[in-house]
């Protein structure tokens, strides 16, 4: 009873769960223009994920699997459906998720037939990572919506994400965790599994016994894929930033129902991987006062961010593409040689920054 009264009071006063607030980009997340200074390696139609076996860099671009060498890309093979996730495994094997509903394991990138296939119950597999025991860890973003329908899953406050362990030897699929607010990105770490939970803006560590512990909470972004970093730690990508407008809409079920029913998804009040391309896009009204003059300003629906996490899971520094930038919608970042290679899905680019130029301080 008291909880119900408290909930009602909170909704009326804009407190507690009803507080429409967003954490700030500060400390290690202080904005810079590093992603805008990145070299464009390749412009392509539908880049989705990256993987490397140490010698080759693979790119998932729609239905095509490409091998990147410098600025040139060669087609390795094509699939019947778009690739939704990619992972290189020890020994040269390659794992691909197709359309989010099927995971295939190949002994090498050019092998004709898959060594193992998993498809039962998969709906939106969006990230794959090798585990030390030879199994494969996959995040299934939603059990209800497909990989391309992620915005709908957010608008429906989806909590059906799962983390799965796929065993190529036995063909078994084990559920490590469920009820996640869009699981998107995973990596094995010290016997546990780190998972990005996009809709809850956090990274959680899942122990083998299923217990969970928050590693990072209250992120100002929607976190996505994870990859290992040299010297310990991880790279965490974020496909866009949170805004108060979207946070507000997420608390208004009637509004969302009508929006989903009546508005073209392109123009929903929802995060996007790119923005500013149509006057029909929703804007959040805002202003900023500089030099004594009030200037109108609207936070963008899209953003680009890569966070370097230390081995302890704490952010060390970050790379940004801000409101006035282009390289938004970063969905993958991977170390390859002396570079950090990233996918900016918004503009459809593969970009590269020398690792030696990164390090926190002095990022422009």
């Amino acid at each position: 009873m008291i909880a119900a009264i408290s909930e009602f009071a909170n909704r009326f006063l804009g407190r507690g769960e009803a507080a429409i607030t967003v954490p700030s980009f500060d400390g290690a997340l202080k904005p810079n223009q590093a992603l805008e200074q990145a070299e464009i390696l390749l412009a392509c139609e539908a880049p989705e994920d990256l993987a490397t076996d140490g010698t080759s860099l693979f790119l998932a671009d729609g239905v095509r699997l490409l091998r990147l060498s410098g600025g040139t890309a060669t087609i390795v093979r094509s699939f019947e459906r778009p690739i939704s996730a990619l992972a290189s495994l020890p020994g040269g094997a390659l794992a691909v998720a197709l359309g989010g509903t099927e995971v295939r394991l190949y002994d090498n990138a050019t092998a004709e037939t898959p060594a193992a296939t998993f498809s039962q119950g998969l709906r939106a597999v969006n990230a794959l990572a090798p585990a030390p025991d030879g199994t494969l860890i996959a995040t299934d973003g939603s059990s209800l919506r497909g990989v391309d329908d992620w915005a709908r899953d957010l608008m429906e406050l989806g909590k059906t994400g799962r983390v799965l362990r796929l065993d190529p030897k036995s063909g078994a699929v084990t559920q490590l965790a469920s009820g996640l607010g869009y699981a998107f990105g995973t990596i094995a770490s010290n016997g546990n599994v780190l998972v990005s939970e996009s809709w809850r803006h956090r990274v959680v560590s899942i122990a083998p016994d299923g217990s969970r512990k928050d590693v990072l909470r209250h992120l100002p972004v929607y976190p996505s894929r994870l990859s290992p970093a040299n010297g310990g730690g991880f790279w965490l990508t974020a496909f866009t930033a949170r805004t108060q407008l979207v946070e507000f809409v997420l608390r208004e079920p009637a509004y969302r129902r009508r929006m989903i029913a009546e508005i073209d998804p392109e123009f929903w009040v929802a995060p996007r991987l790119r923005s500013g391309h149509s006057f029909k896009e929703p804007l959040q009204g805002a202003h900023i006062k500089t030099m004594g003059v009030m200037k109108p300003w609207a936070p963008p629906r899209s953003y680009g961010l890569v966070i370097r996490l230390g081995a302890d899971g704490l952010p060390r520094y970050s790379l940004h593409s801000r409101a006035d930038g282009v390289n938004h919608g970063i969905v993958a970042a991977i170390e390859y040689g002396d570079d950090l290679v990233m996918i900016a899905k918004g503009p459809g680019r593969v970009i590269r920054l020398p690792l030696a130029s990164l390090g926190g301080e002095g990022l422009a």
Binding site: L13, P23, S24, G27, H218, M291, G292
Partner: protein, 498 residues
């Protein structure tokens, strides 16, 4: 007739031996608008208070219309034709506009109707749209200011001093205020106004004087100034010559996020403010008067309350918190070391040990059923030794201590609570030089031990010497963040002014 209406030569005012203004030469021409700019603590307010008779000079002289004067009270200054409009206006809120105008000038027999008619005629002559029968408490900031100005003109002031006149005004009210000031100038009144808004100074003033650390830096025609020149004059001190030494060579890496403030609001001081504080680091918070720094952290510590509706969130260790009083904040590990130690920091007639012990008692959720004199003495003694509080004995009263030692008692009172987040608000204000060094060492040692430390300071060299990261507040919110390695005085000041 001499063109100078007021001048000060070698004006010096000492507070406990420390100069607030030091050998300042200043002159004001008849019918000019003269802007006084400088950082917090630059001596602007002291200089104008000397002119207005609020404080008297320790040495130096002042002339009005070429005659040596020494106004000892505001009344004497008013009789000389000098009036001051304070930021917190000096009107009586329960009286009407007319009563306020004629306050102190009442005749033996007062007829209210007569006062209202006279006030109406006078306000109309100034083209002020204020109802003389209205109660002052119900007026807006701009109209209150009009009444203050009208009172100054009524008293035949030839010099009117404004202290941050536009701080509480809306843009429309500001425009009206500027017109008023220009109208006063046309009437031959000389205006001095203190402002942190450089654009206003550049726009309105005929001449600008810049003060720094109590000393006169430059006076020149406003047309010869631009924003960059003013900022340079405001901050252009050589850091290596300050007590705090040169800039930091290394900074501490950030630990876990201890405090997150999200879209915090407390009208009119805190406006949608967001920031984070990390463990193992000193987060410096800089801003000019009215920037909302102190208020933000007072809300965090439960000393002040945020807006009732949509006041934003404070998240401590990943858990949303809302403290209505300081006690639960103390129990949650937040210590706020106040900027106003004499009022909020200690019980001045209680002993040092007792004050420190009271800090410990605040840590317990429901207090204690009994108080131990022995525990009070022993804990007090150990903290007196740790912080090197110099006193005759443990039982010495706090009021008997120097400013620096009083501040150490306030700090000890907070540190005895073993907090995880310590907020120092102006930690070295009114503190002697030796104690400043010791307090800084203490603050650094807390960060080295992994505590999250916030230092709010109006003094740039202190911010730059202590902080690992620097947040700059302006108009109620954080507008810029610098690493201590990249920060410069000019860059910080640019961000802080508007």
């Amino acid at each position: 007739m001499n063109d100078l209406v007021l001048s000060l030569s070698k004006a010096t005012k000492l507070y406990a031996g420390v100069p607030a203004i030091d050998g300042v030469d200043f002159d004001l021409r008849r019918g000019e608008i003269h802007a006084l700019v400088g950082e917090n603590g630059a001596g602007k307010s002291t200089l104008t208070k000397v002119m207005a008779g609020v404080v008297t000079l320790t040495s130096g002289g002042m002339t009005v219309d070429g005659v040596d004067v020494t106004p000892k009270t505001p009344l004497e200054a008013r009789n000389l034709g000098i009036a001051m409009v304070f930021q917190e206006n000096s009107l009586v809120p329960t009286m009407t506009v007319a009563q306020n105008l004629f306050l102190g000038q009442e005749k033996f027999y007062n007829r209210l109707r007569g006062i209202y008619i006279a006030a109406q005629q006078f306000l109309q002559s100034l083209n002020f749209d204020v109802t003389p029968t209205a109660t002052v408490g119900g007026l807006g900031a701009a109209k209150k200011q009009m009444v203050e100005i009208a009172r100054a003109v009524l008293h035949k002031a030839k010099v009117i001093i404004f202290d941050e006149p536009t701080a509480t005004l809306t843009p429309e009210e500001k425009k009206y205020f500027f017109d008023l000031v220009k109208d006063l100038k046309r009437r031959g009144v000389s205006i001095i106004f203190i402002s942190h808004a450089l654009e206003e100074a550049l726009l309105l003033a005929d001449r600008i004087t810049v003060l720094r650390d109590g000393k006169h830096v430059v006076t020149d025609d406003a047309a010869r100034f631009d924003r960059a020149r003013i900022v340079q004059a405001m901050v252009g001190r050589d850091l290596s010559n300050t007590l705090y030494g040169a800039r930091k060579a290394t900074v501490r890496p950030s630990g876990k996020r201890v405090l997150t403030v999200q879209n915090l609001k407390m009208a009119p001081m805190v406006k949608n403010n967001s920031l984070s504080v990390f463990a193992g680091q000193i987060t410096g918070v800089f801003g000019l008067v009215g920037a909302g720094r102190t208020e933000t952290f007072k809300i965090v510590a439960g000393v002040m309350k945020r807006d009732f509706f949509h006041g934003g969130e404070v998240i401590l260790d990943d858990k949303p918190v809302r403290y209505r009083v300081p006690a639960p904040a103390v129990q949650a590990g937040i210590a706020y070391v106040t900027e106003d130690r004499k009022v909020e920091g200690f019980f001045e007639t209680a002993s040092i040990a007792r004050n420190i012990y009271l800090g410990l008692l605040a840590k317990f959720p429901r207090g204690r059923a009994w108080l131990s004199r022995r525990e009070s003495t022993s804990t007090g003694k150990s903290w007196i030794e740790r912080l090197k509080v110099r006193a005759i004995g443990d039982e010495a009263k706090v009021v008997e201590l120097s400013g620096g030692n009083q501040q150490k008692v306030v700090i000890a009172k907070s540190l005895i609570q073993d907090p995880e987040l310590i907020i120092f608000d102006e930690p070295t204000r009114g503190v002697d030089v030796g104690a400043i060094v010791e307090i800084h060492e203490l603050i650094n040692s807390l960060a080295d031990k992994g505590k999250a430390v916030v230092v709010i300071s109006s003094y740039l060299p202190e911010i730059m010497a202590l902080s690992d990261r620097i947040l700059v507040c302006r108009q109620g919110k954080v507008v810029e963040e610098f690493s201590a390695l990249e920060a410069t005085e000019e860059a910080i000041m640019y961000a802080a002014i508007h």
